[in-house]
Amino acid sequence: MRNTQERKLSRSQTLLWTGQMLHPDSPVYNMAIGYEIAAVIDPAAFKAAFRTMVAGCDVLRTVVISDDATPRQKVLSLPDFDLQFIDLSDRPDPEAAYKMWSADRSTRVFDLSETLFDSALIKLAPAKFVWYFNQHHLVTDGWSLTVLHAEMSKLYNLARNGQLPQEYETLPFADYLDFENRRKEELTDSPAAAYWQQKAENLPPPPRLYGEKGQGSTGRAERITLPLGTARSEALRALTKEKDLRAFTPDMSLFNIFTTVLFAFVQRVSGQNELLIGAPSHNRPTPAFKQTPGVFIEIFPLTATAAKGDTFTDLFRKVRSEAGQYLRYAQPGLSSPALSGSFNVFLNYISGKFGDFTGLPQRVDWLLPDYIDPAHHLRLHIQDFDDTGEFCLQFDLNTAVFDEQKRQNAPAHFLRLLDAFIENREQPIAACELLSDAEKRHLIYDLNNTKKDYTPAGQNLLTLFEMQVKKTPDAPALRFAEEVWTYREFNEKANRLARFLQTQGVDREQVIAICAERSLAMPLAIYGILKAGAAYLPIDPQHPVERVNFMLQDANVRLFLSQKHLTESLKPEGVQVINLDSDADRFTAFSGENLEQKPQPQDLAYVIYTSGSTGKPKGVAVEHRSIVNRLDWIKDLVQLDATDVYLQKTPYTFDVSVPEFFWALQIGGSIVMAQPGGHKSPPYLLDTIEKYGVTSIHFVPSMLRVFLEEKGLEKCASLRRVFISGEAISASLQNRFFNKFDLPLHNLYGPTEAAVEVTRWQCRPIPEDALVPIGVPVANTQIYLLDDELRPVPQGSPGELYIAGVQVACGYLNRPELTAERFVADPFSPDPGAKMYRSGDLARYRPDGVIEYLGRVDFQVKLRGFRIELGEIETRLEEHVAVTQAVAVVRENDKKEQELVAFYTGEKVPNDIPFIHHLAARLPEYMIPKHFVHLPEFPLGSSGKVRRKDLPQSNFVTEKTTTTYAAPDTQLEEIIAEMWCELLPAERVGKHDNFLDLGGHSLTAIRLVSRIADAFELNLPIDLVFKNPTLATYAAAVEGVMLEILAEESGE
């Protein structure tokens, strides 16, 4: 027998051992195979042959010991193993019995210090046996399996004939350990080491397959086996001979093809163009190593960047080049935790074949031990173990990412792309259909089954209000400060104004502007304009006159309803000004009866301007029927009654105000108008809620955040519900809400272009890092998540959100081109004229069909609830004489607040004041950047576009202070700091130093845990340090564990 001396682990073994230590109870590295032999096997001869093999094979006698967290391997001299013979042939269903047995047996976790393999011979029928052979990955790899299979095949044949050799030995793995050691130095400064160093520093983030993060992954996985069939396999082999696909070997060509298709798959289901997978290199550089049992493989990443419009051929070229580099530089001893832990998709193309078992027919069944590395989401194995000429794909799918439905769909999606490659590789990847008809039906129709008929039919925005006036004429309808109007009063005033407006030549659908401060004049103007058959255009009195004049001209406005004190300073051009206050006596003569002629459902109700990317705001024109549906839907869902008091606090230039003006008055409730500016003052809001018994209120999430921090929330006792919309709400904010209020919180989503809101979600407490969904579509509304080709994306994958149905606006006023761009034909509607609105928002479906908002597709951003087209700011800033080019971005400052920052080139202006003056005359206040940063030039990408990501991160926010050294405080911190110093390349460790920044990784974490175990007799989870990476937080966490144990012990 050879030496029994202890040796260090190889590079690959160390990484595997680390992985096992991180998941000590997982059978993740079991490599179990059932060789199903369709012949009679002599159990005695088989056992003898196996004993000989174990005795002569060093890796089978290897164990791994790690007393002080430094693992070593030792080859035992005497094999303490007798192959078990199990006869299941007399069972009623031997196959099922074997399945149960192997499922249990293959998932057992090896004690690394005892033995690293397990084997048995199972009899299923007189001429049907299974050789079960399970090894820990520490001593084997796919190649090694074929080597040992061939050895066993040879030895059994000899044993059968009584010719087992006395002297038998396989080639020793120790030679590889020597080889790796010898190479260490020559690799240090090699181009290969430099290549991988460079690679490790530039790896893209792992993609989210089907939008899933894989939260809570334990590595539990299911294997889906997909045989490709002979025709497809032959077609693939034929492709390896094509001039553009050929490589050194057919296997390499196949590897390149499968990698291309896998990249295409990842790109399509994640929406990420920066692609990354891991693949094993067999690492057997010499003919002798090709005959040696043991683990040689090392895993290296491959990356590629898919460009929009790439064909399979385009991507294949990138893959071929990348695979060439991979092969050149993937050399033994160069893998690292940074490289092998970087990816979540693994491709294992296996060229090895097992053939027969010493001439006996055999089928190979590779058993998945139910677990994979928890960081891996998809592992794709491609093999033809039985050498049938037919490729077999095995998808190991992490169940934290792939639910049952996705486990069924994902392999089919891959297969469609593979078939597309085979059929025509010149087609763009984006052009391939991924989904089945059933999937498309589900996404387009089942999830949008929202049809609902509301009564009465043919309503306009005032139908229900006018009905309510008849029911409760003397009930209070509107309140502003101490002034109250009953339903009748309000209705009569509105009717009089409407009749007056008609005498001023108002036609149906004409647009009349309102420019008022919040007061009773505001709803009066809105209702009066609508009753006159016209549409209202709300204008913020604070807006610069230039913007006001633009809107008036753009909407072809002739009448301007305002207040005297406003029109004195704001002199709108080309319009007839009517002051609602000082001209009020001009309306009183008219009849207060309802008007005979009512607006029709298809008539325009309002025009609201939103920020436009070309520098000009755009007017969204919304019809009565659209906004009526929005109101009917919410009335159906949330039942207000006559006791409800709605606070009107949203600026009326924001379409969220529309339901505030109408909803409560449709059911006999009342509206309280907040004071001008009151919506920005939490103390005022609290007092108002208390004073008037407000029951319903709407917040933009950033304002809700401020509101919740206010003292005196107990004043909100009358509140019954809260609505939020306008920007994404974080889980932490909604959870904070639930800590203070036990009230329904409705999260609404929608653009102005689709009548306020089109989805709703009732919030509930969720983990802080989860997304708050935007919910499901409202009545008579369809939400489609589509790709660039206007096809539904797979369930879960990010897609652009399109809105169809009755709430879609008619378009942008007088902007036919822009309208045609954003309001496109709805390809899924039976109505050929149906339009859908392209929101520019990215969203995804959760498995239950609920929608999550992911962000903006383009540069339009939301800041404090306001929609801002960055392009508009840039255009305006570029109008300034000093500015050559401007780029506006939203940045988070060190207080975690979002703010606008403008970068510009041209003449450097010493301070921001000229820019602020310039922009203040052209833009609303919320669109004026907080900082103006001069740059000599912009960083440009290859397309010549400014690379926004590369704009400076600092020098406009508070200078990022480098972490100053803070000495450890507690004794525990001191002890742990000392351990870190020993384990990490650090001279000294302070309270705020970060384990990961100091170069800590899994292996260091294991050593650290081992040291702490020695010092404190405390078993800590290895990942504790990753969750609490600074010295102070880690020490606190360790102390927490200690206290928990003490509490448990004292409790016993």
Binding site: A288, R320, G324, L327
Partner: protein, 84 residues
């Protein structure tokens, strides 16, 4: 040149295999004598020894199937380098 390449293959890539007696027009790739990994090692050797660079798009079977193919390719690359 051919002999130098053959010696490298016999002593480095196929070390331990006896009685190879490789010839310059022997098919090394489709026979599986050298695998992809071996070919990459060989290319690294050729680049270093003959001062050429093999771009990724040239890493195809037609240039490396036989030692003669390699010699021809090296000559072509060198000419290309001189011209450029």
């Amino acid at each position: 040149m051919q002999q130098q390449i053959i010696t490298y293959i016999e002593t480095e890539l196929l070390a331990g295999q006896e009685n190879l007696n490789l010839t310059a027009d022997e098919d090394l790739l489709t026979t599986g004598l050298i695998d992809s990994l071996g070919t990459m090692k060989l290319i690294a050797f050729l680049e270093e020894t003959y001062d050429i660079t093999v771009p990724a798009e040239d890493m195809t079977i037609e240039y490396f199937m036989t030692v003669n193919d390699m010699a021809e390719y090296i000559a072509a690359r060198r000419t290309a380098n001189v011209i450029s």
